[in-house]
Symmetry: C2
Subunit: 213 residues, 2 copies
């Protein structure tokens, strides 16, 4: 039985770190940036563009060098849709290969046939600001206001993409098995509990499959 | 350091069972019906009335034998408010005595000074219906429609009381540390994961207190 864990998360909540650590602890593959790189290689589009399309949606018009011309592409243009379709195909391919943890990209929806364990990771605005500051790239400093706007933009892109994908509300707890508030908690200290929950979920799933056969 | 776990839950989600099992596993006191009994003894009011007031709110007018007269009491009448005040006093007294798990009664708000671990337990409507059927009292059978109405009434009472108590939305995940979807899961299989999460929460709380002193 294939075991897939999908992680949806608010920007700055530590969901990515949790995903990485879970994959490590459970000996599962981990996919996040790898997906962007693979799509960029395949399509010849810039990684930055892919990253924006890949799960956040993009601004209505996005400047990009495409087919050697500098242009502004509308959201849901042909290359945009191609990236999303290619991404969905890649997610299904990866899930078919081995057990894995996938962060973002509406993987919970795209891989629904696999009945993944669906986690949502969130935190208080203050805690998310603090986490963002800690991982700020060197030489790059956002003001508080800029950072807040960036967080809101990214999350609303994720929400929009999710709603377009399956009509459900991003972050609405009924769509997830476990919603984890990371405020004031160290991500690494949470791994044991989440692994325990995952093994309980997969055990019941296995039993359910047995009973249905 | 006092350890308090509060459990808010949708009717039929198995939150009460989870609370009992957690208390047992962690060697903590467990309070739920005990509060109703203590309040009934103290006030001389019927347990059924107390139970309705205690966390669900009550219908606008509630028929009751009060001071030997059969009457209809408005919600937030004097006896109603007395019961709620007495309940809050009792919650604080119990929390002062020992580590404990408390189910419902807005204990997460009333005991906020203790920084309790706040859990929210929920499930899909179908799963809640099924759990309710399993624990239906003998000789009492609700139709599906009656059961759905009862579930909605009880949850909306809980939501109303919560909103009156602290202005926050009942079930809104930002108000809780962990939201657990029990759909298709056996409650007893979840205990290990939640204990693990609790110990992680209390460890960080302890460390935080140490750093502040």
């Amino acid at each position: 039985m294939r075991k897939i864990i999908t992680i949806s998360r608010e920007f700055g909540s530590g969901g990515r770190e949790l995903g990485k650590r879970l994959a490590e602890a459970l000996g599962m593959a981990y996919y996040d940036r790898e997906i962007v790189t693979a799509l960029a290689e395949k399509s010849g589009l810039a990684e930055e563009y892919i990253e924006n399309v890949s799960e956040r949606g993009i601004p209505r018009y996005y400047p990009i060098t495409y087919a050697r011309t500098f242009t502004r592409l509308p959201a849901f243009s042909e290359p945009h849709m191609k990236v999303l379709n290619e991404q969905n195909r890649l997610l299904l391919e990866l899930a078919g290969k081995s057990d894995c943890v996938i962060v973002g990209r509406c993987a919970d929806v795209i891989l629904r046939e696999y009945q993944p364990l669906k986690l949502f990771v969130y935190a208080s605005p203050e805690s998310k600001m603090q986490r963002c500051r800690l991982r700020e790239e060197e030489g790059r400093h956002y003001t508080d206001r800029e950072l807040k706007r960036r967080m809101a933009q990214i999350d609303s892109g994720r929400a929009r993409y999710r709603e377009l994908t399956d009509g459900n509300k991003w972050g609405e707890k009924s769509g997830y098995h476990l919603c984890i508030n990371t405020t004031e908690l160290e991500i690494k200290s949470l791994v044991g509990a989440v692994c325990e929950f995952a093994s309980c979920y997969f055990d019941e799933k296995k039993q359910g499959m047995r009973e249905n056969h």
